[in-house]
């Protein structure tokens, strides 16, 4: 059974949203999804670039108010 986890990285600068995502992706099982919340607009570009490079799957990316919601599925 795959799990969905929300990681709130809003208003954080160090280690930052992408580092938070990597931390939780390492804990996750293949098939799990993680929804990263971030107020850093750079995250909208940083996360897809990392996901593509490493071979995970970007499910969705949208901005709701000031918060970016990026959902990633662990593929390997």
């Amino acid at each position: 059974m795959s799990e969905h986890k929300i990681v709130d990285a809003c208003n954080t600068y160090c280690p930052g949203p992408l580092m938070e995502l990597i931390t939780y992706m390492r804990q996750a099982a293949v098939g799990d999804t993680i929804e990263l919340l971030s107020t850093d607009s750079g995250t909208a570009n940083d996360v897809p670039e990392w996901v593509n490079k490493i071979g995970h799957e970007l499910i969705s990316s949208e901005q709701v108010g000031d918060v970016w919601h990026l959902t990633v599925r662990k593929a390997k």
Binding site: D8, A9, N11, T12, Y13, C14, P15, G16, P17, L18, M19, E20, I22, T23, R26, Q27, G42, D46, E49, W50, K53, I54
Partner: protein, 377 residues
């Protein structure tokens, strides 16, 4: 009111000392008691390990007797907790004793997990332990030239350390007169050379000037020990003569084995610093799962909030503070210069140019730490 502090690192020690002074009248009147349980009778100043790796400090400078750092009204035991029963307000220690409490502060810290990456423990060097820092120094002292790789695991303690290690390495090799015989390549997990954008903007031209190569989006997957090659999850690899690793960290094993949080990080409210789901359990320092730096500085500012709140709850029945995410990190920049990064949940760091005064302030702080951890600074 029985307050139990589990862990004698920076966060636990500052909480216990601040609380002991604030609650001195209550402790004298036997209305409050502070107990600390630690895994060691020694307290290590961990940031000093970076200096040990480059021959600038000796390991014995990093230690003090833990008892000597604590207020005399703190009941201190070297007896690590093995079992947490948070629903019963009690813990059981290695010696088999049970301690009951009204409020618990969990400050057990973090540990390196080099063993999670195949080959990294065998082929990599790390300055995150005393033995590792000494071994790395001896290796660098013997080094006559070749390729040195720096790789970074996620998450890791002290996010500034990779940059500082690169600067220090450049300086050390230059001082030995062999910098032109050494290739330094710095590898970083995300798509810029530091997680703090302003640090990356500041450090990138410094690296360029020093001839330190950079590869981003490099998450270590394995190390080929025999051929001395480190491989990334992204598909690239680097052949090295020395591999300096800033390893992935986990919280302590006792946190994992008691199922208090994945990878040993306890789910913690970012403002109250209480463990999620518990009103009488506080978490401080590396042990939290908060999206802030795992540093002594974060632990220090968190510890002040926790101790003031526990004391005020005892005295007036209400907390008085919230943690705002404050962190202050020195950044050693080489050439006897340093700068700093200060930030909180609302304000990003605004880096200033490195200068010699900040370096000497940092060198002074290496000594002042012992006053800081007593809760005096």
């Amino acid at each position: 009111m029985r307050v139990l502090v589990v862990g004698g690192g920076t966060g636990g020690t500052i909480v216990a000392n601040n609380l002991a002074r604030r609650l001195a009248p209550e402790i004298r009147a036997r209305k409050a008691k502070i107990t600390m349980l630690s895994a060691s009778d020694q307290h290590m100043y961990q940031p000093g390990l970076l200096y040990v790796a480059f021959g600038q400090m000796m390991p014995d400078e990093l230690y003090r007797d833990q008892r000597s750092l604590l207020e005399s009204n703190i009941d201190f035991h070297v007896d690590p907790v093995e079992k947490f029963e948070l629903d019963k307000n009690s813990v059981t220690t290695q010696s088999g004793k049970t301690y009951e409490y009204d409020v618990i502060v969990i400050a057990t810290g973090s540990r390196t997990m080099s063993n999670k990456i195949p080959g990294l423990e065998e082929a990599g060097d790390t300055f995150y332990t005393e033995a590792g820092a000494v071994k790395l120094f001896k290796k660098l002292r013997e080094f006559e030239g070749g390729k040195i790789g720096i790789v970074v695991g996620v998450p890791h303690k002290c996010p500034i350390a990779p940059v500082e290690a690169a600067f220090s390495l450049h300086d050390y090799l230059k001082a030995r007169g062999i910098r032109d015989k050494v290739e330094i390549k710095y590898h970083y997990p995300i798509n810029r050379m530091h997680s703090i954008e302003n640090v990356a903007i500041w450090a990138k031209p410094e690296f360029d000037r020093m001839g330190i190569e950079i590869e981003t989006l490099f998450n270590v997957e394995e190390v080929d020990v025999e051929n001395k090659v480190v491989k990334s999850m992204e598909g690239s690899e680097y052949a090295f003569d020395i591999l300096i690793s800033i390893p992935e960290h986990h919280g302590m094993e006792t946190i994992e084995s008691n199922n208090l949080g994945p990878d040993g990080w306890i789910p913690t409210d970012r403002n109250s610093l209480k463990m999620e789901g518990y009103d009488n359990v506080y978490v401080v320092g590396d042990t939290t799962n908060l999206p802030v730096s795992k540093t002594g500085s974060a632990a220090h500012f968190e510890a002040e909030v926790i101790s003031e709140n526990i004391a005020s709850i005892i005295k007036i029945g209400a907390p008085v503070k919230e943690y705002d995410g404050k962190v202050y990190c020195f950044i050693e920049a080489g050439h006897d210069k340093a700068t700093y990064a200060m930030f909180n949940y609302e304000n990003p760091p605004d880096l200033k140019a490195a200068n010699k005064s900040m370096h000497w302030f940092k060198m002074s702080y290496n000594k002042m730490y012992w006053a800081s951890v007593r809760g005096l600074l």
